[in-house]
Every structure is written in C-alpha cells, then in structure tokens.
Symmetry: C2
Subunit: 323 residues, 2 copies
C-alpha cells in the first residue's frame, strides 16, 4: 500500500461519480430492530453495569449493523467514515469491533476514514499515530485493519500533526485536520477574530496548507495526503478557505441531518468538481426510520432504505456539482 492517499481518494470519487462519504455514527438505541433482536440487546443496553459478555453483545450488534450498512452502500459510495467515539463505550470489545469493521469495509472496496479526532503533544501523538495509521500492522489473519485516513485536531499545532503525516506519507495513508467544524458552538473558538481581522479558522487553514504542501506530500492529482475538515457555515468563508488550501481535499460534514445546503456545500469544491468529499451520517444510516424511505423500501428491509438514502445523497451532490 504505497499509492498516494490524495490520488486514491480522487480516483475513487471520480470512478463512482460520487464525491460522497457515508458517516457511521451508530447509536445503540437506533440500530435496526432486526439486528438488535438478533443480539438480544434490549435488556442489556440500559443496565446498571456491563460485564464483558454484555459489551461483547453490544459491540457485535454494532458490528453487524455496520457490516449491513457497508453491504448496502459499497456499490454506491467510495468512502465510509467510521466514528470511534461510538465504539469506545464498549471498552475493549468496542475497539475490536471498530478495527474489524474497517477491515470489512476495505474488503468491500471502500476507502475508510477513521474519525478519531486525536491530538496530544508530539511524544504522545506518536502513539496515537502508531495505533491508528502507522506502527505495527494488525495480523491480517485476525480480520482487523487500520483505516486509510484519520481526522486530527489542530489545537497543539504541528507537533500533534507530524507523527500522522509521517505515517501517512510512509504508508500511503492520509489525515484530515479539523479547520471548521459543523457544531453550533464551533464559532466560540474557531470563529474568534484575530488581530489581522480574519478568524481562527482562516489562521488554521493557512497552517494546514503550509503543512499539506510540504515536499513529498502532494500527489499526482495535486492533492496532498493531508486534507481539511471544513463545514460550510458561511459561503464567503468557505470560498476563502477553498482558495487558501488548494492542495487539500475537504471533508465536508453537515450535509443531511445537520442541515447544510447545496449552495453552501458547492463552495467546498474546485471548479473542476474535485477537492471535496461530502459526508452525511444520520440521514443515511438511519434511513429506515424515515417515512420517506419506509414506504418505498419496506419489504426489502432496512438495508434497502439505507441504500436508497445513499443514492439520494449521491444524486444531491451530483446536482450541486452540475449547477
């Protein structure tokens, strides 16, 4: 695995004509009844304490759900983003399921972004990088794998980025640095006004472009193995950020359940239609809860609702790109 991540990602989105990523943020309370019943988790999930057997059941239910989502969306989208936060409550058993799900997704032909949002001082970040995209690989016989890329937090500056960059460069993997996130309170920190009359997001964008364009990191596609997480909160700002980071692929959260519009999202792409990967999570993975999909897909079960929602997502993003 030495092909460049920016090139692999660009090629994968062009091949499926889908600059789209499905985010997997699985709440145990919302997994499909067919799955929760098979693992008998109703009685466990609200318990006073969990033992290993309880955690094993819950983690296995999430893994089964994840595999079902992968089967449904792999023919439609090129990338899945798996959020480790939703596995950590199940302790060791959750982490095992996280790495197993990554392997299953890669075997299905998907690129995988491990949504880990880690950062620490360099000495400690080396450990995070080894655990997630570098270090000793898991034994393939065990059904685990590391993701193709991860998300990281910029608050520590480059010390917390470098170990991920080195692992990404050496293994053909990638990273996305948080620049502008999709949550309501993001502006409390990211939107703070600097002495040069731009915001902290602009400042971080400048840093990210500098890091991303360093020697050896930019592939034949013109994109670096380092991308940026940019939620388009304001069209003007998104346009600025797009211009400031020409070598970065944007991972664009917030389309779907979080309400970002097509106009907002379109500013994250370059004029040639490359440079962004639009991510939606809840609107796709919980499509079976949506009456819009239940009607048309009911008889085929929850997976066909998920597939239909993924198709609709791809169509929406294609429409954005041709307007």
């Amino acid at each position: 695995m030495t092909t460049h991540f920016g090139d692999r990602l660009t090629e994968a989105t062009l091949k499926k004509e889908a600059a789209v990523c499905v985010g997997f943020d699985p709440l145990i309370q919302r997994i499909p009844r067919e799955v929760s019943e098979a693992f008998n988790i109703e009685a466990i999930r609200d318990g006073d304490c969990w033992n290993r057997s309880n955690r094993e059941s819950l983690a296995n239910a999430i893994l089964a759900y994840g595999r079902g989502v992968i089967d449904a969306v792999a023919p439609i989208v090129p990338v899945i983003k798996i959020n480790i936060a939703f596995f950590e409550p199940y302790c060791a058993e959750g982490i095992r399921a996280y790495y197993q799900m990554i392997r299953y997704a890669q075997d299905a032909g998907l690129l995988v972004i491990g949504d880990i949002k880690r950062a620490d001082i360099g000495h400690s970040t080396i450990q995070y990088a080894e655990a997630h995209i570098g270090g000793v690989e898991p034994d393939p016989a065990e059904g685990f794998a590391m993701p193709d890329a991860v998300t990281v937090n910029p608050y520590f500056g480059y010390d917390a980025i470098r170990p991920f960059v080195e692992a990404a460069r050496d293994r053909g993997r990638g990273l996305f640095v948080l620049v502008q996130t999709s949550n309501e309170s993001a502006s409390e920190v990211q939107g703070v006004m600097l002495s040069n009359q731009t915001t902290l997001s602009h400042h971080v964008a400048g840093l990210v472009q500098g890091w991303a364009s360093a020697s050896g990191l930019v592939g034949e596609s013109g994109y670096s193995c380092m991308g940026a997480v940019v939620s388009p909160r304001d069209v003007e700002v998104s346009r600025d950020l797009r211009e400031m980071m020409p070598n970065c692929i944007f991972l664009v959260p917030g389309f779907g359940a979080q309400g970002r519009t097509a106009d907002e999202v379109s500013t994250c792409f370059k004029d040639d239609g490359t440079g962004a990967l639009v991510s939606a999570s809840r609107s796709v993975i919980y499509a079976y809860e949506n009456v819009r999909y239940q009607g048309s897909c009911g008889s085929d079960g929850w997976q066909s609702c998920v597939a239909k929602a993924a198709e609709d997502l791809v169509t929406s993003v294609r429409t954005v790109l041709t307007v």
Copy 2:
C-alpha cells in the same frame, strides 16, 4: 461517589502535602528490564504484525509496569494521570489494560486522571463522555474502573465540553480543558494574537472560567469540577491565566523532562498554595534510567528509583510553594 471532584482533589493534595501528579506515559521500549523479561516482549515489540497473543503480552507488560509504578508512588503522591495514547497501539488488549490500571490505582487510594484529550461535535462527544466518565459503569467484578477525571480539547467550543460536564457533575467526577499545552508548537495556534491584543489561550481561559463557574459546578473548596491544563510557558501569561480562572484547578504539565522551572510553576498556584496540580511523567516513571537514582537505589530495584524520584518531585513542589 457523589463527593465533588474539586473538593476531593483539593483535600487529597492537602492531606499528602503534595500538589503533585505522576504522569504515566509508558513507552514499551523503556519499561524496566525485570518487567519486559517476565513478559518476554523483546521479540514481539518490533514484529511485522501483531496478533492477539502479541498484543496481550505487550499490554500485560505495560499493566504490570503500571501497577509497579502505582505501588511505588501511591504512598507519596495523591494523583496519577494515565495517558490512553500509550495503550491504544495494543488495540482492544491495550484498552482493557487501561481500565484495569485505573482500577488498580483507585484501589491504592490514588485519584486518577484519564489523559484522553477527546473532543467532537456534541452528538459524538456524548459517546466519549459515556465511555470515559459517564454512561454505564463497568462491572466491578471485572477489575475495571472509570477515571476520576479526564482531559478534553476546546477546539469545538462548549458542545464538546457539555457532555463531560454533565457526567462529571452527576458522578462526582471532573474534567480539565486544554488551555495552554506544553509542546513547542503550541504557540502556532494557542498563541495566535486576537483583535483584542490577547492570545487564543486567554480567550479559551475566559470561556473555561465561564463554563466552570456555572451553577452547581463549584464545590465547597471554591473549585469547580472543571479545571484547566495550563503549561506555564511565560510567567506573565501564567499570572494572567491564574487570575482569569479563579474557580479552576490547573493541571500543570511540563515540570521535569519538559523543563519548566520552579518560578514558572509557582505562578499557577494561588497565594494560599492551592489551585494547581503539578504533573511530571518521564522524570519519575523512568527514574531507573537516571544515574542519579541508580546509584542510591540500585539494590532495591527499579521501583525504589521511581519512589525516590516521586519524593524529589514532591519536595521540589513544596519548595516552590514556600519560596
């Protein structure tokens, strides 16, 4: 467990006359030979891939080392900070060891800070909070426990803090928000100059004090269950931050291997000697590599070197406080 975390921490430091925390950041390459030989890890650690049995051995070696450190320092210091980054490379087996080490430390009478530095949008941070200080407790029969407090990253604003605050308040636990970190490149982001001529660290400090002083969070000691990570990089700035966050206990990294001086550290305390917890990691946990300690403690083995270094750390901090 409903006693207030700020009160528990203040009481624990006064009782041991030691405003000191030992940080556990265990590199597998540096664990004592007695431990590494017992787990036969020399042959494993540089392998091409690790299977479950390999990871089990490595995680168990780190756990054995951690228990040895706890036995050595528990009579001397009130708090241990366990960095999960150093457990994650061992996948599920590492996470199991992390929670087991927390339990062992609490059984030895230590308060435990889980150094996890997590943050995400609120929807995802709820999961992190449940995994680490809230949610369903692990079955006590299994020898796991959650830490008394965790570290969190402010880049998302309050959305990424709230779930930890709610868990902390309800369970008598705590959190420390990163304000100013100890690494070299921290100033690239945290030191950026704002339009009001202060730095981002000052801005985050103002936010943290606002969050920490909210109704129901401040204990009888006057300290909130929310503290701040403040590495004293500049005496003037530390003094500002100390004044800006009267309700926050400072977790002060960087004393020891990272080179912060007594003068710098002293500004993190209030005049009454409360309000800060000085943390040192490598200078204590690897004391057996230091000729200074090898000479005096050689015959008693590595643990007595660690104990002696912890005593020296406590003495240094007492000296800071009486100057």
